[in-house]
Symmetry: C2
Subunit: 216 residues, 2 copies
């Protein structure tokens, strides 16, 4: 599901309360209705929206009573700064994800623990701590990104800083031609071409054939 649909769903306090309740245990409509103090009809409306988005599912128990539970596993990240606004939703990665491909990050959590409960307890504790650390690191990175964008803003007109920053960041990895840069940055080619000429005048980038690159 895309982040816009998810934000629309989560933009309702009662739906958030329903999800919070279902995350503690599967529930019948009457339980939800009593717990959050909303009519069964309204609860059913919310559940239908959550169900058609795939966030919750229902089953029927031995007494033929229908109960609801959370069926989805996902993350949503929203970043807002003077230099960017973006929301992305993603599904948790499988355990086989190869974190060794990370260039700037390394993680140390032993997850070859034994099968018994005290091993599981230790793993759960370590993962919860790692989760907090990753969240802290994300905030640190966002703070640094804003600082760097502000420094770039000292070199350019403020309205240009985002575009110029984008171009410089792309070229830091590898040389590129103007068409590819325009595509990557989702900006009109003439605007990108003009920005490249300005950066060349300042001696920051140079052109070799049709490839632009940072001057070292």
């Amino acid at each position: 599901m895309d982040s816009a649909e998810l934000l629309d769903l989560l933009g309702n306090e009662n739906r958030r309360r329903i999800l919070r309740l279902l995350a503690t245990k599967p529930c019948y409509v009457t339980e939800i209705s009593e717990y959050i103090g909303v009519s069964p009809k309204a609860v059913i409306d919310h559940l239908q929206k959550l169900e058609s988005a795939g966030l919750v599912e229902s089953r029927v128990d031995d007494q033929r009573r229908k109960y609801y539970y959370i069926s989805e596993n996902l993350r949503l990240e929203v970043r807002l700064s003077p230099y960017g606004f973006g929301a992305k939703s993603a599904y948790p990665a499988s355990t086989r994800l190869d974190l060794t491909t990370c260039r700037h990050l390394s993680i140390d959590v032993n997850h070859d623990n034994g099968p018994d409960l005290s091993d599981l307890a230790k793993e759960l504790n370590a993962l919860e701590q790692l989760e907090r650390e990753l969240s802290m690191a994300q905030r640190w990175v966002q703070g640094r990104l804003t600082d760097v964008m502000e420094k770039l803003g000292e070199h350019f007109d403020e309205r240009d800083a985002r575009l110029f920053g984008g171009i410089l960041s792309e070229l830091a990895d590898d040389g590129s031609d103007a068409e590819s840069l325009a595509r990557e940055l989702d900006a009109p080619l003439p605007v990108v071409a003009e920005a490249l000429e300005k950066l060349a005048e300042q001696g920051v980038v140079e052109r070799v054939d049709d490839q632009w690159r940072l001057r070292s």
Copy 2:
């Protein structure tokens, strides 16, 4: 600002479009209105909500025209799984945040670069890549957490897995008494006390005086 207020604000497509536009450049009301195809009156309503929440601010330019820009810098993270639903919003950390306190995480980004533009370009590029890596790591952790909760669910009744998991995770760090556990887990003391007795019967935890701890 708390995550509930932020989710309420972001649960509106036009407000998200306004933020996306303002993240590329500061704008007048007429510019926003034309760009997103919504009446100036409706745009002003949205801007007032965003302004009173502190997400945007306005200034008056040399021609006395009012323009709006994003004034806030924040992150929102939402996690949904069968075992938990939580949203948290946080402000980016200052550059002096000490990441060396992390037990499970280490980060390698040189941020003592020089002041010139090509250094800034390299730092921007490295930070953007680190941000993607952290996001990938967060998805991996969430996947692992769900796996561990499922394994715990094999040992207990499904309705108990979350509480028992919480208790075990707390005790993995250090011994604790029942009252403190109940407070940490926001659960009624009798429920926590009963769970501890069950875990003791299974030989997973033991009590020494009034302290409970994992049996190694």
